[in-house]
Amino acid sequence: MTAFADTAAAAGGEALRPHAERAFADELAALAAADDRPRPARWKLSPWAVATYLLGGTLPDGTLITPKYVGPRRLVEVAVSTLATDRALLLLGVPGTAKTWVSEHLAAAVSGDSTLLVQGTAGTPEEAVRYGWNYASLLAHGPSSEALVPSPVMRAMAEGMTARVEELTRIPADVQDALITILSEKTLPVPELGQEVQAVRGFNLIATANDRDRGVNELSSALRRRFSTVVLPLPATPEAEVDIVSRRVEQMGRSLDLPPVPDGVAEIRRVVTVFRELRDGVTTDGRTRLKSPSGTLSTAEAISVVTGGLALAAHFGDGVLRPGDVAAGVLGAVVRDPSADRVVWQEYVETVVRERDGWKDFYRACREVSA
């Protein structure tokens, strides 16, 4: 395991995506130096400093802390307070709302380590939450603490750190239940050795879950009760969302080697507007209510629609992002359920798109792809 741990460092220190505590080590150090508020046991920073780390600000010594999360201050405060009251934190939200991002930075700021991570999948076994065995050692020497392979959660308990569980609702229900004892009793018995691991002060757990996906393992109310829930919203203003989308599109276009597009902002704005209006069920001017389709229409999907449109424009068009390039992508994102969503989409096209000034091209493109 240690053989792999520092491959990135060995390969020249240039990891594709460095961990938060490494990428923002300077900021964390500056915050710790300036932080004179009381810190809960084994916290690297006080709750105030953690909130500042996430929301950004300027320290007394002039160090600029970049905002990690752009959104309501209230949510970050609730999240940090929850961790400070040693209650587990559940971050909910539709895909693309920075749940993982927030959880990673919270763990990095609170414990200085964001790597104690359990990735939830339909196949996550109980060993990933509790402990496993090194079977060679187990067979050779019998059960002993040397043969035991602790899970990230177990290590976090022993060392008083913050553990992270990604996509909690994808984990099978019986494995989820293993968390209940850990969260309520704060202990993990190892009957094979006649021992138990008791959580040290400072241990806590941040889970993320998707509240829009269907067919996932709904949390039992017993488990749910052990979490405080914070719902991360979609971007609040169209401006913020256009900003996020165009920045991400630019980055992705670069990594996909798409030729740069002269002026896509108008189309990006249009896609974001369509997504927001359908998602919110009301037009931007707030005057007309609309039905919402069954898809999530998250910012992440807007990004992929625009990237797809760019690829179309670059390879098959004249290089300028045009309504026709995005219309098919928008249709695909909106109409997930072929019967109900199609009506929603047609109503939207006929009652909103058609009437709007300067949207004639888009209307025609929509009619074309809808037909």
Binding site: W48, E77, V80, T85, R87, T229, G281, R289, V343, E347
Partner: protein, 770 residues
Amino acid sequence: MLLGVRHHGPGSARAVLAALEAVRPSAVLVEGPPDGDALLALAADERMRPPVALLAHAVDDPGHAAFWPMAEFSPEWVAIRWALAHGTPVRFVDLPAAHSLALTERTEGAPQEQDRGGIDPVGILAGTAGYDDPERWWEDVVEHRAADGTLADPLAPFAALAEAMAALREAYGDGGHPRDAVREACMRLRLRAARKEFGEHIAVVCGAWHVPALAARTTVAADKALLKGLPKVKAELTWVPWTPRRLARRSGYGAGIESPGWYGHLFAAPDRTVERWMTKVAGLLRGEDRPVSSAHVIEAVRLAATLAALRDRPAPGLAEATDAVRAVMCDGSDVPLGLVRDRLVVGGMLGEVPDRAPAVPLQRDLARQQRTLRLRPEAQERELELDLRKDTDAARSTMLHRLRLLDIGWGEPAAGRGSTGTFRESWRLRWEPELSVRVAEAGVWGSTVLSAATARTVSDAVSAASLSGITVLAERCLLAGLPEALPVVMRALADRAALDADVGHLADALPPLARSLRYGDVRATDTSDLAKVAVGLAERICVGLPRACAGLDADSAGRMLPRVEGVHTAVGLLAGAVPADGLRERWAGVLGTLSARDTVAGVIRGRATRLLLDEGRLAGEGAARLMGLALSPGTPPADAAAWIEGFLGGAAAGGMLLVHDERLLALLDAWLTGVPAVMFTDVLPLLRRTFSAYEPGTRRTLGELVRRGRGPDRAADRVEVSAPGFGAGLDEERAAAVIPVLQLLLGTGTGTGIGRVAGAGTGPERAASR
């Protein structure tokens, strides 16, 4: 002793109570209109339950009114109750309502909102202390501190506040409230009078802003000079019940508060405010079947306390409590939180006022209107014919419609006598004694018939359950001439229409809207919004109708049929009344889709075909082709019969169509004779239903036609072009004979050719529309 308070501040109320208990003044003066002094005693009545409001209105203009709302936790209310309970004299000291009403200009409709221009003293203090939210600063510094109940000197906070306000007033002068000088002069004069009467030992409860002015030393002459020549109206005052929701309104005491329920809790809870609040929230959520355990309550209290610490606040406030409830008890969702906000943070308890309170102004307004419109309430039932083109009659109709909206059933609309014009209305009037009670009940909605009907309609629109309910409301709203309620109703209508997935509901909603647009024409109301909604609705129906008509069984199809017809009529009305480009064409397109789609029930297909034919959008050959398709041998006879019912039934002219169009009759004849014997009994009831609706004359003609069979000169397949359904060729001589009469009817002058006349007469619809 000057007790400066924040209106509706629970902390101020506690402090006032403590101060009064400690000082025990010989008289209590409260900021409020002195013309209401006589009503003060009612506050002690056991049937009086806050929130209530002191209402002042001009006698000859009940719509011109001002309110002084009071909740249980209002310092003014606390002071009044304390004084009444201790037998201490209590007076109001502000400017009399007679003057303040005269000073504020009249605004139409809604009750008078007082001028709120100028600076916000609390906001400035909060900004100085580094708070962005003045409410929060006040809570932290004054309300929370005082709520501890551990103050050594009950007067200390008032002294500190007075000092701060004095500094503010030095810096800002009158702070943009020019009328305050007059009000304060009046307060000082009354304070002097009270001193003369009760001695120096007097407590004054007023807004903190006024304290420095009351403490200032001025001469009587100067104060009197300020009050000289003030305009005056005849004002009447009474207590009216109030709701927590309306406490948030800025009127009278100018503190609009967002969370009366929370303030009430702060005032009522003896200790452990947050713990008690969380328990209340848990109780509410449990009552709504949400599993909330005591463990949840514990965690929520802890989280609220930590949040307050993180935000550097001395104690958890409403914001912290709400965040904690959301995260711990509501799984981060705002939906159950909305319930908490509605029921607890705002609260829904309606105030009560004893019967002894003077009569509501609505009654007076009604009486006044009855006089001006010369429409006396009579117990005897009588009929009233109104001609809406006359001003008085239009006003009468408007008033009766408004009363109906208020559930005051004085007049009921009756079927018109003979006349069908939209400018005529018939009413049956009858004044029952219990209607007076209804008027009193309706008094909570407003002080004039107009404002009450507006408020009631708005409330109804917001809470209406069904789409058609709102369209009916919109129609009545137009009839009753409520311009201020209309946007709200329109909004509710648009919202509900957008969210209603059932095309049937939309189709039900469209015809009343189309009708309303025509009323709008008659009554000269502005209906552009309505038109927009109606067109939007029609567009939605166009999108969804083909799908909604697919795969219906006979019963559902039967229910859908009148809707399709209703929409057809409504689209016709709409296309004439509003600028809706291409709506008619789109609708025709939808009918075309309906008539051609196999999954659509036969009866609807048939009717769609028929409507198209009547519109003149289907040449005779087209109708024959569609009929041939529908009656082809492969189609189950029951379906074909349903198609025939749709195509030929209903409309009275259905039979005439067969009489005149031999091809259709021949097709029908051929189909009917081809129906197998076993199926015949199945289709018979449908056919009977269709044909029995025809007039006897038509039926007989049809029978004769069928018996005669196809004569050689009536063959349907003649090639000569003619108007569809008519015999070939034109007997020019006979046709020319009717031209003078037709010209007279059509109002056209000269030069109409025969061809044009014949063209105008092709479809029954066109003929009827002329």
